[in-house]
Assembly symmetry: C2
Homo-oligomer: 189 residues x 2
């Protein structure tokens, strides 16, 4: 499946605004891949598919998490988190993606996790800073995107945690593991 | 050991400023205990002993964590966290405290945890809002201290997480479990 075929396949599954966001993530991820020595084609595929089930039926996602024996704690958290691991499942079994880096980049694009690989960080950050995103502080994040991928990822996960805590929303533990991993590394440098 | 004997026993182990803080925690904890139907004597003992090893030798604390098979992850985090679980150990084996509520209130007074008991919440909050504490926002916390112990605890743990993230300091997972527990309860109310 080439780029256009894959884009056509996901376009019918989401509102136009989300499709435009996906194109923004794709362009940003490819640019970051070129800066940080990642395979651009992998960044492209992960970006196109990262929100593939964002608007899928919630009950089906719940059942998929159970049937595929994903982390059962996901079900205790907001359903907004489910589309990332379920998206990785669909990428693998419907789109035939076998590259584990691509699958993990989709799987952890919402929460992050400790010890993320380069492609995971790229999709996690691209999702937050792509040009269509608008929220207070997004320009500060964008300005950091060539100061090192760890620095950018750290800022993005900090922003995510601070936003959730401010809104009294639960924080999935993987986000704290991601944050702790990055601030501890910095301390050790 | 009565109150004065216990205060004399801890006074020699800390700078005067920390002793004054301990007295503040004691007064605040006793007041909160009277408001929230907790045993005031338990609040008094937990407060007096909560920082008993705050200035103990760091290598000895580290060895105690290993020898007593406490959570080994503690050693991956800032030593500032160690005095709470090690303090519970000293309260038990040196001061003869056997009440598990008191020991847990000392053990979790720095991080919090999910499903804290009343006394745990009281010591956790009293440690943050006692009259000698001065930091931006402390008055807002103090104003919440009769709006329900869960509401106060939630604000205190939020403040703790936000402070750490702002300072690029690691967040011990128990604090996120504590936070998630309290914001999820609120959603379910």
């Amino acid at each position: 499946m080439n780029r256009d075929e894959m884009l056509n396949a996901i376009r019918t599954r989401m509102p136009e605004k989300r499709y435009v966001h996906t194109l923004g993530v794709m362009d940003t991820a490819i640019r970051l891949a070129s800066v940080y020595d990642e395979v651009e084609k992998d960044a492209e595929i992960a970006a196109i598919l990262h929100d593939v089930v964002k608007y899928a039926d919630r009950d089906w996602m719940k059942q998929t998490i159970i049937d595929q024996q994903m982390d059962p704690n996901l079900l205790l958290f907001h359903h907004e988190l489910w589309h990332a691991p379920v998206g990785a499942y669909v990428a693998q079994y419907e789109f035939g993606v076998t590259n584990q880096n691509v699958l993990n980049a989709i799987r952890y694009h919402t929460t992050g996790r400790a010890h993320m690989g380069t492609l995971e960080k790229i999709i996690f950050c691209a999702d937050m800073i792509e040009p269509n995103r608008q929220f207070p502080g997004v320009d500060e994040l964008r300005q950091h995107d060539e100061q090192g991928l760890d620095a950018l990822t750290k800022l993005c996960v900090k922003r995510s945690i601070q936003y959730l805590v401010q809104k009294n929303q639960p924080v999935y533990p993987d986000s704290i593991h991601c944050y702790n991993d990055l601030v501890t590394r910095k301390e050790n440098e």
